[in-house]
Every structure is written in C-alpha cells, then in structure tokens.
Amino acid sequence: MSFDRQTVRHLAMLLAVGVATAVCVGAYAAGADLGQTTKQATNWTAIGMFCAFVAVTLGITKWAAARTRSAADFYTAGGGITGFQNGLAIAGDYMSAASFLGISGLVFANGFDGLIFSIGWLVGWPIITFLMAERLRNLGKFTFADVAGYRFSQTPIRVFAASGSLVVVAFYMIAQMVGAGQLIKLLFGMDYLYAEILVGSTMMVYVLFGGMTATTWVQIIKACMLLGGATFMALAVLIQFGFSPEAMFSKAVEVHARKEAIMGPGALIKDPISAISVGMALMFGTAGLPHILMRFFTVPNAKEARKSVGWATTWIGYFYILTFIIGFGAITNLVPNPANYFVDGEIAKGLIGGGNMAAVHLAGAVGGNWFLGFISAVAFATILAVVAGLTLSGASAVSHDLYASVWRHGRVDQAQELRVSKITTVALGVVAVALGIAFEKENVAYMVMLAFVIAASANFPVLFMSVLWKGCTTKGAVTGGFVGLLAAVTLTIGSVSVWEKVMQNPAGSAWFPYDSAAIFSIPAAFITIWLVSLLDRSARGDQDRAGFPAQQVRSETGIGAAGASGH
C-alpha cells in the first residue's frame, strides 16, 4: 500500500464521489420513506448547506494533501499553526454537537441547571493553561505519550498511554457516531445508516489525505460557523427584549411550566458528592483528552501554545454564554406557540424531535427555514469534525506509540510510520461506522461522561505527575494510570446510568450511588502513582528520577524542544 501523489489524488476523487453519492442516495431514500415516526421530513436546505460544507472542506483537504509529506505534517501540521488558529480549532474540537444541542436543551428544560454544566465544561481550561500547555509543547512531539514518557522506560508507558488514548477515543467516538445517526434522522430526514457511512467516509478523506492540516482547518471553519450561527440566534433573542436579560427571564418565568423554579438550582444535581465528582471529571478530564492534548503540538512554540488555550477558553466561554441565552430564547419563543413546535401541539408531550431540538426549533423561529437549514448543517458538520480529530489522535496512538516505539523500538523510518497511521485511520473509520451501527439502539448518554472520567483518572494523573513530580517512576506512573482506568470503568458500570439504564438491572440495584466515579478514581490514580513510585527501588526507578532535571529544563525553557518543520 503506497501513497504517492498520483494514487492519493485518485483515491481522494474516488472517495469524494462516493461521499457525494452517499448523500444523494441517502436523500433520495429519505424522500421515499417517511413512515418512521422519529424521522422528520427531508430537509433539502439543510442537506444542500451540508453538501456545500463538505465540498469546501474537501477542497481544503486537497490543498492540505499537497502539503502533507512527513510524519510531522501528518500528526501536527508541521507545527505551523498559529496560536489564534489553534485556539479556534481547540474550541472546535470541544464545542461538540452534544454541548450545543444538549446544553441549550438542558437550559430549555431546566433553566439554571444548564448553566452549572456549561461552567463545568469550561473550568478545566485555565488549569491546562497554568500547569500544562507550554510544558506539553516543550516536551512533546506527536502524542501525549511523548510527554508522559519523556524520561521513562518507553515500552510500558507507551502501552499505557496508547490504551488510555484508545479507550477514551472509543467511548467519545461511539457517542459521536450514534449522535450523528440520530441527528441526521431529525435534521435531514435521512436514514441512520447513511449518517454512519457519510461521517465515516468523509472524515477518513480528511484525515487520510489532509492529516492534521486538513483536520485543523475543518475544525476552524466549523468553529466559525457554529460561533457565527449561535451569535446570530442569541442576538435575535436579545433584540426581542431590548437587550434586557431581566425582561427575557421574566417572560421565560411567565411561560415556563416550572415558573420561577427555572431561575435557581433544581433537581439535576442530586447530592453534594455527585456535584463535586461531576465537576472533577469535567475539570480534569479536559486535560486528559488525547485529541485536545495533541493540538498543543501543532503550534511552533510555547508562546503560541499559551495563546491557543487563551483563545480556546475565550471562545468556549463565549459559546456557553450564547447557549444559555439560546436556551432561554427557546423558552420564550417556542412555549407560546405549542402548535408549531410540540408533539401534537401539546407542551406536555415535549418538543418535536426531542428535548435536544430546542436550538434547532429556535433557529427556525428567529431565522426562518434557511437559517434552520444552516444550523442543522452546522450541527452535523460539528460531529464530522470532532470524529476526524478523534480518529487522528487514535491513529497516532497506534502508529507513533504502539508501532514505532513499542513494537519497532524506534527503529523505523517516517514513511513506514506514516503508512501505519494511514492504515490505522482506515481501520478506525471502519470500526467507527461499525460501532455506530452496533450501538444504534443503545443508550449512549453516559459515554461522553465516561470518556471524561477515564481521561481525568488515567491520562491526566500520569501526565501531571510525570511532568511535575521528580519522584515519579515508570512503575508508579504505569500502575497508577491503569488503576485509575480500571476504577473509572468499574465504578461507572456500577452507577445508575449504566447498571440500571443500560444493563437493565432492577431500579435501586446500582451499587455505586453517585453520578460520576471521578471523586474516587482520580485520587486512586494519584495515590497509587505516589506510593508505587515511592516504594520503587529498582534501577529503572533511579534512572527515572535522575532524568527529572533534564526534563524540567526542557519543559520550562523549551531548549531542545521539537521545532516547527517550517513551511
């Protein structure tokens, strides 16, 4: 399997044609089959706008493919992305369809409670800025294992890092793929299966041919569309109330079934332990997501890495303020017109298409059909872009950590490593589609949270301790990391959302009483790393500890750091 230019161009064309055909066939099939209750009427505007997005991004992929030669180009866009661009791309990675539709839907249903979640998703970013971003950039090259394993024995730490990355990527990916299938039924009126194939094949084209350059630009474009669309909606809502939040809130209280209860914390946060545990998962999970960590290697130096997080935090914070306004706007615009937006015109039966459709209906209410089409296309493009980022980080974990470092002990040339990345990309694309289809009827609501808990309990503690604590050893990091991973998965299985809702055990039988495992699994990982490192009397342990000053010098000053490959 060789990838010279000619082959690349032919394959790209072939895949592009395939994607276009899938869209058209899907749309046709959707038009012919409107019998299913959950599927909406075919929305040609949304499909047209989405096709335009795909056309533009495939054009960018073609341009990026010409610049993607080396492994560095493929994994990190040659380190040539600016801080501002990377900030937008990180925001793009982070502002998933789930956070856009989910949080605005949550605000629509519960008011204030939605805000608690938005804040949780944001607060991890400053911690990344202060303690991780520039150190990651100075130590790392392609994957977070480069950082975590800087002074450690390579094989064990990379096996751990690749496991941590792939498990997080898998759960995050399943949630995205199932979400894509559900969304396409609602937004485009197309079949679930087409959504899976569409997302799988399009993102494969991005990653395979355009590598990180194309993936980054897809994220940037999508982030701009999402921020632009959400800004328009929020402004349209605020104008109705003369830019007075008080006027908006009082109208919402007047029409909402829960009246004044929407203005304060409700039942969403059940007990203090769950509240803090969910908060910890969100805060520290962000700093352990492999596709986010990878983004810090795409900028030329520590200064740009810092700027990236600054911009990412700003855009994400701004976005969550918008979703909050959008949620309240949905209350004031949709509830007074039940006939148009609610099942059978009855508010009690819920929004047409489900609670996550609040933002989409609001788009129609304030911007008409075209804007509804635009927002639908943006929501779907969001999933596509996030899946592309996940696939790239999964592929790099396999090729850079497992293949090049563990299996070939670093004795491998760039071309071989690159070939393995591309084969892995194809494999992950196929696996993603297969998982999306396999989990169609399953309840996957817990999976994004599980991905965050694992990232917070396995990846983050290892990264944190290896970079900041001189006493950390290979044995400690690897043992602690796996303890965190196991604790996160085991406790999540025992919680209500999996034990009862997914595994169908009787109500009340869940043996882990809280919403998130993080409050136990994060400390378990940290304590294990600390204790095992402390008791580690091996020669390797001494070597690990002796390597700390050199690592620290590089992480603090950037001397010896991998530079930009220069384009």
Binding site: F112, L115, I116, S118, I119, G120, L122, V123, W125, P126, I127, T129, F130, L131, E134, P245, E246, F249, S250, V253, E260, M263, G264, P265, I269, D271, P272, A275, I276, G279, M283, A302, K303, R306, K307, V309, G310, T313, T314, G317, Y320, I321, P549, A550, Q552, V553, R554, E556, T557, G558, I559, G560
Partner: protein, 102 residues
C-alpha cells in the same frame, strides 16, 4: 541534551527565578480558579435557596450573575497568566537561552 548543559542551566540563577515564579504563579491562579468553581458547586450542593434568591424586584436570581461571573472570571485569569508569561517569563527564558549559548 547533555548533562553538562543541564547542570549549567539548573545552576543558572535566572532559571531558578523563572521556575519559582512560574510555578507559584501557576498554582496560585489554579487555586483561584478552583476556589471559584468549587465554591459555586458547593453553593449548588448545599445552599440552593441562596442561589435562588432574587436580586432587586425582578425575577433575576443571585445564581445567574454569579454563574456568569464564574465564566468571565475563568476567561480573565487565563489571560492574566498568558500576559505575564508572554512578557516576564519569556524574557527570562530568552536570557537563559542566550547565556548558556543555545
């Protein structure tokens, strides 16, 4: 990086200054961020009525501006760190790099 260079940098007074300043600044801001966030979460967990209390005569509650303030505070402390790092810390780093001849 050879051991000799590492030793030279580690003993460099400006490296010690950079390390100490950045570490303490980073931790203090992290602490500020965590206090703001977990303070908010603890209020949600333990004192719901306080957050649901009205501000003035309207329907707006204490929780709304407070929640918004946590978001804005998060963004501000991020830029506070970046400003100082981009000027002071980067200047120190540049001096170290120049003086050890790298």
């Amino acid at each position: 990086m050879d051991a000799d260079l590492v030793a030279r940098i580690v003993s460099h007074p400006q490296y010690q200054e950079l390390k100490a300043k950045r570490t303490s600044f980073g931790w203090r801001l992290s602490l500020a961020g965590m206090v703001a966030y977990y303070g908010f979460i603890l209020l949600v967990a333990f004192d719901k009525p306080l957050l649901a209390q009205k501000v003035g005569n309207g329907v707006t509650t204490v929780g709304m501006p407070l929640g918004l303030a946590v978001i804005v505070f998060t963004i501000i402390i991020t830029w506070v760190y970046i400003r100082r790092a981009n000027s002071e810390f980067d200047t120190l780093t540049a001096q170290i790099v120049e003086e050890v001849g790298q």
